[in-house]
């Protein structure tokens, strides 16, 4: 079954990249947001001002990481709902492929894409916001991947019970904003005041 898992994962990555808008929204858009908000937040600040640099060094990466995670899960929820609506999952179920293999393949795809976006964001950060801090890149990446994985489970739950892809997106956004507020995530994303 490992052969099937690898093949399905690879094909799903290729299919995802063939959807220009989806690929842009998931991989490129968070990086663009990172650069644009970073530039906006730096207006009026000399490079050495602590609050501005703290925002670009700490708040902004966290905010964009959240965006990466949400994009990954949102696209997963949409894809699984569309696959279920269109009978693709049923077609796969009529093969010896086990449901857990199908879900694992989709989790792998999203984790790989999340990691890829994160790498792009780190490279963009190094290029445009050179920081002198010792950022714990490895542990931060692991934490992001694990949290993405955790949010994916909620995405799977939503995708498995709602009837349509459109409805699943609404449910997912509702749940993510509830959790964002309850988790106190608004604080770290607040822009600094000059």
């Amino acid at each position: 079954m490992l052969r099937g898992l690898m093949k399905l994962t690879w094909i799903e990555i290729k299919i995802f990249l063939r959807e220009p808008l989806g690929a842009f929204g998931t991989i490129v858009f968070p990086v663009l947001i990172f650069l644009a908000v970073g530039k906006f937040a730096s207006v009026g600040f000399p490079a050495s001002v602590l609050s501005a640099s703290r925002f670009t060094q700490v708040g902004l990466p966290v905010m964009v990481s959240l965006l990466i995670s949400i994009s990954a899960v949102l696209s997963l929820v949409t894809i699984i709902s569309i696959y279920r609506e269109g009978g693709i999952l049923k077609r796969l179920r009529a093969t010896p492929l086990r449901p857990e293999t199908i879900l694992t393949a989709h989790v792998l795809v999203k984790l790989i894409l999340t990691a890829a976006t994160l790498v792009l964001m780190i490279l963009a950060g190094k290029r445009y916001y050179p920081a002198d801090i010792d950022a714990p890149l490895f542990s931060f990446t692991i934490a992001l991947v694990i949290s993405t994985w955790s949010i994916l489970s909620i995405g799977f739950l939503i995708a498995s019970i709602v009837p349509t892809a459109r409805f699943s997106q609404g449910c997912f956004f509702l749940s993510i904003h509830c959790r964002r507020c309850c988790g106190g995530l608004r604080g770290c994303c607040r822009l600094p005041t000059p």
Binding site: K7, I11, R18, R91, T95, P96
Partner: protein
């Protein structure tokens, strides 16, 4: 011949709706068996219970000696399935789908390139699924159902929505599957398809199997009537036609006679024409088909 599929007393309900009601039948090795009936008769549910995709509420099913629900993965390695209204990922390429499906089975798959060639899909091997025509999609689904060289192939409403040319091409494909020694189990609501393809058919309505036999025997059993329509200006023809053995009625509109009866009516009518030197300008026979059998058994047309 051994039974490949044995279905005994299967019942399946969705809430208060009884989809399959005490269905029992056997499918023999190497035959094309058709489950026919109108939309909503319970054909797909029955087929999905046999494939192991749905669990019947009661009754027993044996497929290739396996329990399709408890031994579903073992079974799925030995069968090929084409589902009604199934889709694939929009942007998956034809060759990718075949390659993916080949990787899902334990046993060695058939040569995908050759299979695509046999199904006339080689020019489309790099096309996305969403860009294929209805007939090409169905052929791809057949390719996916055959990629593991299955012993038993399930085809659910295979040619629905296809143009006559594509339909005939797919019928040829199904016959070629049987010629390779495979057993084919198909569902259809197209009577012509069942008559042309199936060795035996089971007629299903409201979840119940009404009758099972070869198409010819079903027609002979339930609709033995024959009709001959001919045109002649011979003044004494009506009197002679009434003397034909087995005639039940002779109707006449202008020069056109409609002779209804049973038994070997066609031969007897031709003999009558020859013996009495009756000159005809038009001659045709109207033979009953499975559609008429369905109408007789259920009191309604399959299209209603």
């Amino acid at each position: 011949m051994l039974p490949t599929i044995t279905v005994s007393g299967v019942r399946k309900t969705y809430g208060r709706t009884v989809a399959v009601d005490e269905a029992s039948f056997e499918v023999m090795e190497g035959e094309i068996f058709g489950l026919i009936g109108p939309n909503g008769a319970g054909k797909t549910t029955t087929m999905e219970c046999i494939e192991g995709l749905r669990k019947p509420d009661r009754g027993t099913i044996s497929v290739l000696g396996l329990d399709p629900f408890r031994q579903v993965y073992k079974l799925q390695n030995r069968i090929g399935v084409q589902l009604q209204q199934a889709q694939l990922q929009k942007r998956i390429k034809v060759w990718e789908a075949v390659d993916l499906w080949a990787s899902l089975y334990q046993k060695k798959s058939v040569d995908g390139t050759r299979l695509l060639e046999q199904l006339g899909l080689t020019p489309k091997r790099n096309a996305w699924f969403m860009n294929l025509s209805g007939g090409q999609k169905q052929r791809l689904f057949i390719a996916l159902a055959l990629i593991n060289d299955p012993e038993l192939v399930f085809l659910d409403e295979l040619t629905t929505g296809l143009d006559p040319q594509s339909r005939r091409a797919i019928w040829e494909l199904v016959r070629s599957i049987r010629e390779r020694g495979k057993t084919v189990f198909l569902t259809t609501h197209l009577m012509e398809e069942a008559e042309r393809l199936c060795d035996r058919v089971a007629i299903m309505e409201h979840g119940r199997i009404i009758d099972i036999d070869t198409p010819l025997r079903l027609v002979a059993r339930h609709c033995p009537e024959r009709t001959v329509v001919l045109t002649t200006v011979d003044a004494g023809a009506a009197e002679q036609f009434n003397k034909i053995a087995g005639v039940e009625s002779v109707g006449c509109v202008g020069d056109e006679f409609t002779i209804r009866g049973q038994g070997d009516l066609v031969t007897e009518t031709i003999r009558c024409l020859g013996e009495n030197r009756i000159h005809v300008t038009d001659f045709r026979t109207i033979l009953p088909n499975l559609e008429d059998v369905f109408l007789k058994l259920t009191g309604r047309s399959i299209r209603e």
